[in-house]
Symmetry: C2
Subunit: 480 residues, 2 copies
């Protein structure tokens, strides 16, 4: 490997993956963590686009690597992250063994000094449109992000804490945990592939985990296991939730178990942390309901990140917790463009458009109300598709729902609900529309409902609204 080379990883949260983080970046090469949950064709695209010199993989991914290798001729070697005894029988011409490579070296390597702007990491986003795009991290941005991520109102992990990142190390550097744990001398517990409720609970208890971080889905599994077996956490005190909106009930359930559930928000393009939902001193004396109003939001900007919301014309909107607009961010670890210039100049006057629509309240707590491209623009006013979807799925007969803008001759767009009924449940178009009354402003009530068998999703489980908008491009609203 040479300085600047991209080195791919297809790996769980394990100690060899951590060694790669520091070994690859420390020698001046670029740790390129790849999300193995993407479709194989997308991964092949990413490996080729990044021009990975080597790809390191956990044994779980042997079948995937066998598929990738023929599509990625530029890769000089596929390194199985194991010892000689466990090297797989794989159909791979350029197969190498991790521990053999390490065993051939002594410990006297002289770590080079290089410019702080040298690239340390690379991570691709799996957008809902177009090819994945890469975000390059520099040593400078990574260190600054790690400082900020360690702050008392962010991860706050001292040398006396035990942290287990459930969030994968292939998902934006496990939100910085792979850096901030060693930086602060905390004990780092890496769960490998066992992310089911039972495995996690037992690991928490065995290793005395005090802090953890992950997406809501994982916590649903953990909380279900804990409830089913009537268990308690003996050491866990804080659970950081991000990746998608944290269900309010999850915050309550964690609190009942003595665990503070902290809502965080970020993006691949932000290294990833942008905001964290810790309370301020003034909230401590408030009743739990008022504290809860803060906790369900995505949190305050962490020091270093600036946020603002703007309307369609780019005018800054008030921080009153009501006005919502496009969320723009800037800061030392916010990207200014994608790897190899993909997507061109993406900043607006130096600000990165997150693609989210949000409110910011007078205390600085940000709440995402929609994706910019999903917001429904009715007569120049914006309607939150997420709010309409939340109401639809609150109906007992609805399993899943999408709210999209359908063309309207007078209002440009009006809300259309595309919904999936629960198995065996009954609900009519009219009943569902009536269900909105009193829950939103009158002009937010959807103009129509269409029931379907299933909704389209991305590989990472997000609603594929672009496809829905294409499918319903010619939908005729009864109000049109």
């Amino acid at each position: 490997m040479r300085a600047g080379d991209r080195i791919g990883t297809l790996a769980w949260n394990g100690y060899r993956h951590l060694e790669l983080y520091y070994g690859v970046s420390g020698m001046g090469a670029v740790t390129h963590t790849i999300n193995p949950r993407l479709f194989a064709d997308q991964i092949a695209y990413i490996v080729n686009h990044a021009e990975d010199a080597y790809v390191f993989f956990d044994l779980t991914f042997v079948p995937l690597v066998e598929k990738l290798a023929p599509q990625c001729p530029g890769v000089r070697g596929w390194v199985a992250m194991t010892d000689r005894a466990h090297v797989p029988q794989a159909r791979l011409a350029k197969l190498l063994c991790y521990e053999d490579l390490l065993g051939a070296e002594n410990g006297d390597y002289a770590w080079p000094q290089f410019d702080e702007w040298a690239a340390s990491g690379l991570c691709y986003t799996s957008g809902t449109t177009g090819n994945p795009k890469g975000t390059l991290y520099a040593h400078r941005t990574t260190v600054l992000h790690a400082y900020a991520a360690s702050l008392p109102d962010v991860f706050n992990v001292s040398a006396r804490e035990v942290i287990l990142p459930v969030v994968p190390m292939f998902h934006v550097n496990s939100w910085g945990v792979a850096y901030l744990a060693p930086m602060n001398g905390a004990k780092l517990v890496l769960p490998g592939a066992g992310l089911d409720g039972k495995s996690l609970y037992e690991l928490f208890e065995t290793e005395g985990v005090t802090v953890t971080a992950g997406v809501p889905t994982v916590w649903l599994g953990l909380l279900a296991y804990v409830a089913e077996h009537g268990l308690r956490f003996s050491s866990l005190r804080r659970a950081v939730v991000g990746g998608s909106a944290c269900p309010p009930a999850m915050i309550t359930r964690f609190a009942e178990l003595g665990v503070e559930c902290i809502h965080a928000w970020g993006m691949t393009e932000m290294s990833p942390l942008g905001s964290f939902g810790m309370l301020k001193g003034k909230h401590l004396g408030m009743p739990p309901e008022q504290q809860f109003e803060k906790r369900v939001k995505q949190g305050r900007a962490i020091f270093g990140v600036e946020m603002k919301i703007v309307d369609g014309a780019g005018r800054e909107l008030p921080r009153d917790g009501k006005a919502f607009g496009d969320l723009l961010v800037r800061g030392p670890w916010v990207t200014c463009g994608y790897f190899k210039g993909e997507g061109g100049d993406i900043l607006r006057d130096g600000w990165f458009p997150t693609g989210d629509v949000a409110t910011i309240d007078p205390d600085g707590y940000m709440q995402i109300t929609d994706r910019s491209k999903d917001v429904i623009k009715s007569g120049g006013e914006w309607i939150s598709s997420i709010e309409l979807e939340n109401i639809a799925v609150a109906h007992p007969a609805i399993a899943e729902a999408a709210a999209i803008g359908a063309a309207h001759p007078k209002w440009d767009e009006r809300p259309l609900i595309v919904a999936v009924r629960k198995a065996g449940a009954e609900v009519t178009r009219e009943e569902l529309l009536t269900f909105y009354e009193g829950k939103v402003a009158k002009w937010w009530i959807p103009d129509d409902v269409v029931f379907v068998e299933a909704l389209p999703h991305t590989a990472t489980g997000k609603l594929l609204k672009t496809q829905l908008r294409q499918e319903f491009a010619k939908h005729k609203l009864p109000t049109a």
Copy 2:
């Protein structure tokens, strides 16, 4: 004022001083905090050397400023930090009023953007030799230092904490507290000039202070007041101690009051933080005596600072907690030279020589055993002057003592104790020497004792050993 101008302050910890910190540095000028406890001639030297364009002063310092003004013709204005009604009757030609200056402006100032290496602050050290030398801080170094100072194992001040810096804002930016409190949204309580035990205790209680920081002398006053009145702290949880070695008994006394006393170490040339004495996870299960052994040391290097100890030939010494040598440091907020090049190139292969002699133990805890220039070099081996002094003052008849190296024909130097007896107490030379037996290695036992009426000190209260060494340059040791 223009960008780059130095702006002097002679002020206590108060809100106008904080406004100056941000106003002066934020406009691109340099906040030059001056220690008003220095001799007036030293202050005049500093103001002239820094070429301060303006000097802002609290009303306490009117008599001082009247003395300074004639000696500092380059100062374009002396600004009384008060409102019109309280402007003093002072013999000052260029007297201005702080609130008048502020009142003449509106709030629409557009803060400039400038290079991160632009100077933000300036602080002079009052060494025991030569003229004071200035350390310039950049915005970059100040922000990085503030991040590091906020870490969970350093000040760890969240938006739910209330912090009162007793350490003055003229003393290396109050160890960073003036920056880290606003940065983390903590409540900042500024005590003004009232630093006696009663004033501090009452302010702690009234404002719900949870964290504080200062030198041991201040805590002696506070603890005495608390003991005398049988009081407890209702909100205080942590007291950071630095500036000089923390007496072990102070750590115990604070602990009895439910306050964790944390030993910190730093230097003006280090912005100032270098190390902090928080325990590691592995220490939590240990008996209190073993924890105490860590707490009395100066602490572990904070992330960003590297430390090593070297012998007289510059060879790195082991981190075994026993070997002691010159302590060298480097890091993003460690200076590489003094203002205007005073003192020339001060680094040794990129490392800043702290002038301290220290041990580092296997856990990374550093303990200062001496000043480099005070260490007694006997036959090529080093003897800690501080350890000899600590033993002397542990004798019930000794009020204060200095250990210096006296010339010896065979050993180059041998230890000489210069001591002050307590009023009315009696102790002979022989009795004091016998007192060392069994407390140190035989060859560490001093060769002689001289009793004096008083020892010389610097303006900031440090022992002036240079003067003692001059006075005793021709002292004839009985062993010589």
